[in-house]
């Protein structure tokens, strides 16, 4: 809550500054560059939103300590949506109409992003989402970008790994939120192309605390060789525990939503051997020094972990990428004119972020290739690169 208080103090201070300078300057342009952010700092998706909010605050502080950009300071206005799409919509309206920010970063979840996508498009507001679902950028909206890897790429990685392991019959479990639903669709759509057969396909509540009933169904279905779970909620840890407890000993694949060490801690020894595709932030120590992302990842990890005394997660990384993409856009456009910044972001090439190397184009607002992923596993309570 301290951050919130600080934010409002900063807003108040900024308002005073604007008021004073308004007399001398032309007053049409405020001194600071305002960037809005909507994150679910609380609620079931707080595993995403909390590190995201911390990351953005940290980056803004770092940037301002270096003198800001174009000679102006950056002010981040962070709103806590609690994971609720309704709140995200009203905060987005507030940021567009009242705060008149340059761009909005977030929201954390796909469901929220899909709710404010048309709103931002209508108001010509740049939105750089930290959520993963493919539908955010497909169909393409002119002003909407995203930084996490695509669902379809994650599914492709999982199915390719299954092929190597000789797995063809699987159970698909997904949470009933935007991310779960989008992932379920990709898993279903891509299955036949990879000759994978989905024999159990279940959806659970995003607040579920016990999944032994669904897993009992999986156990009772003959021929299931692996379980794929697609969600971002704590159920990811619960599934791992429940599987071991009811004696269901087959490989468990998770989505790229598993990229927070907290989930591993919650599942304890039951997390060992979980397989999931993720960016390289989680395994930065294993990367060779000449890897293009090594420097960026190591610096972010060090800064975040010293300041907040907790492990980095890929989600904070998505916020890092989103914030930096906007800043890069401003730098490239040499202006804070929203349309110029948007055009600059769309032309961004070879930007090294935490999720991978971004190459945006007028037809691709994700900007990441299949190589942005790595198959990871859990080994001795830590993330490690999966080796066949």
């Amino acid at each position: 809550m301290k951050e919130k208080l600080m934010c409002s103090i900063k807003v108040a201070a900024a308002a005073c500054v604007i008021g004073l300078t308004g007399l001398t300057a032309n007053g049409a342009e405020s001194r600071t560059i305002k960037i809005g952010a909507i994150f679910s700092q609380t609620g079931p998706a707080s595993f995403l939103g909390a590190p995201e909010a911390k990351t953005v605050q940290m980056l803004a502080d770092q940037l301002n300590a270096k003198g800001g950009i174009l000679g102006r300071k950056v002010e981040v206005i962070i709103k806590d949506s609690g994971g609720s799409p309704e709140k995200a919509v009203s905060f987005a309206k507030q940021l567009i109409d009242e705060e008149r920010v340059l761009a909005i970063i977030g929201p954390s979840t796909s469901g929220e992003t899909m709710q404010i996508k048309p709103l931002c498009e209508e108001n010509k507001m740049i939105l750089v989402s930290c959520a993963a679902a493919e539908t955010i950028v497909n169909p393409l909206a002119k002003y909407v970008f995203k930084t996490p890897q695509k669902d379809s790429q994650a599914v492709t990685w999982i199915y390719n790994t299954m092929k190597d392991m000789g797995i063809s019959k699987i159970a698909v479990l997904s949470g009933n939120d935007g991310f779960g639903m989008a992932g379920k669709k990709q898993l279903e759509d891509l299955a036949s192309a990879h000759s994978i057969q989905i024999v159990v396909n279940e959806v659970y509540d995003k607040g579920a605390t016990d999944l032994t009933d669904i897993l009992t169904k999986v156990k009772g279905t003959p021929g299931v060789q692996a379980v794929v779970n697609w969600s971002i909620v704590p159920a990811q840890s619960i599934i791992a525990k429940n599987m071991k407890q009811i004696g269901l000993n087959i490989p468990l694949f998770q989505s790229h939503g598993f990229g927070n060490l907290k989930y591993v801690e919650q599942a304890g020894v039951a997390a060992e051997g979980i397989l999931f595709p993720a960016g390289r932030l989680l395994v930065v120590d294993e990367l060779p020094d000449n890897h293009p992302q090594k420097q960026v990842l190591a610096a972010y990890k060090r800064d975040y972990e010293t300041r907040f005394k907790e492990n980095v997660s890929t989600f904070g990384g998505h916020a890092y990428d989103a914030f930096m993409v906007v800043i890069e856009g401003v730098k490239k456009a040499r202006s804070t004119d929203r349309d110029k910044v948007r055009d600059a972001i769309e032309q961004l090439k070879g930007f090294v972020g935490t999720a991978g190397v971004f190459n945006y184009s007028p037809t691709d607002h994700t900007g990441l290739g299949l190589d942005a992923f790595e198959m990871l596993t859990v080994k001795n309570g830590k993330f490690a690169i999966y080796k066949k």
Binding site: T209, T212, D213, T216, G220, P234, K241, Q245, I246, G268
Partner: protein, 294 residues
């Protein structure tokens, strides 16, 4: 067969937690006439306090102290809010409990944080599994079932055999008469809140390793617990046990025939059907003998 048994255990595990929450509803309802929708918050607080204490105390001690603290907290709530608002209508007081539920959640968010946490498993660890009649389950499930059974048995003894328990029952069946024979009904209400909070806290501790503790877990449990209490018949703690286990079992077995996304629908559809056919619940008496008029 083994499959059915596996569903059965899954059902009674969640069911026994619903049952304890439903008992909590009933204890307060029969003593004060108030439906306490902050009941789920007692479960959350129990888990949270125990987890905090467990960082420097052995788990059994942490659980005991947490239950004691939350019991006092429950008594405190009654003393601060409900005793003073006695002259208000029951409906007002129910709305107050909803407000309290929100306030307690926000406080928990500030005192702890938004992260999910849990107590260590009482025996074994996350991956241990025991075989019972061919079904595999976590040893913690046995802890949950055992605790629920002991709570129910002790509560039954308390109500039937002890003077204090009888006094509490007297307060619910006829407050005026109870007052006339010298029972301090005010203190009985405080005790009912404390007892209900303590039971909730205990449930919060034993399920914490399985379902994890989170500042927002309360309302969901309160709704299911309330459904269980209504299903069994409001005002009867033992009927709540049957109600809770039924809700849990219906949820679990419904997964075997319909998609799991609809398991809440199954539970609430049966609740609705029950309200149409037997509005007083499975074991409640018709014509609302136990239902107090506002």
């Amino acid at each position: 067969m083994v499959q059915a048994l596996q569903y059965f255990f899954s059902g009674i595990t969640v069911g026994s937690v619903y049952a304890i929450v439903a008992i909590g509803f009933n204890i307060i309802y029969s003593a004060t006439g108030v439906l306490n929708f902050a009941q789920g918050e007692f479960v959350m607080l129990g888990g949270m306090v125990a987890i905090t204490l467990a960082s420097f105390l052995p788990v059994p001690v942490a659980v005991a102290v947490a239950v004691a603290i939350v019991t006092l907290f429950g008594c405190g709530l009654e003393l601060v809010f409900f005793r003073r608002l006695r002259s208000h209508s029951i409906l007002h007081m129910i709305i107050i409990t909803i407000g309290l539920s929100i306030v307690i959640q926000e406080l928990a968010l500030h005192v702890w944080d938004e992260k999910v946490r849990s107590l260590p498993y009482f025996t074994g660890n996350e991956a241990s599994s025991v075989k019972l009649l061919g079904a595999a389950l976590s040893p913690q499930v046995i802890w949950v079932l055992g605790t629920a059974a002991i709570v129910v048995a002790l509560l039954q003894l308390f109500y039937k055999r002890t003077l204090y328990g009888r006094a509490m029952r007297a307060c619910s069946s006829n407050p005026e008469a109870a007052m006339l024979v010298g029972i301090n009904t005010g203190n009985m209400r405080t005790a009912a809140f404390g007892l209900s909070a303590g039971l909730g806290a205990l449930a919060g501790c034993v399920i914490s390793p399985i379902s994890m503790t989170h500042y927002e877990m309360g309302p969901g449990l309160a709704i299911k617990g309330f459904a269980a209490a209504v299903l069994g018949g409001l005002g009867n703690p033992m009927a709540a046990v049957v109600g809770g286990l039924m809700v849990g079992l219906i949820e679990a077995f419904s997964v075997s025939v319909i998609p799991s996304a609809f398991k809440d629908v199954a539970a609430f559809a049966i609740l609705l059907a029950m309200l149409f056919l037997r509005p007083h619940g499975l074991f409640g008496r018709p014509s609302g003998v136990s239902v107090r008029e506002v």
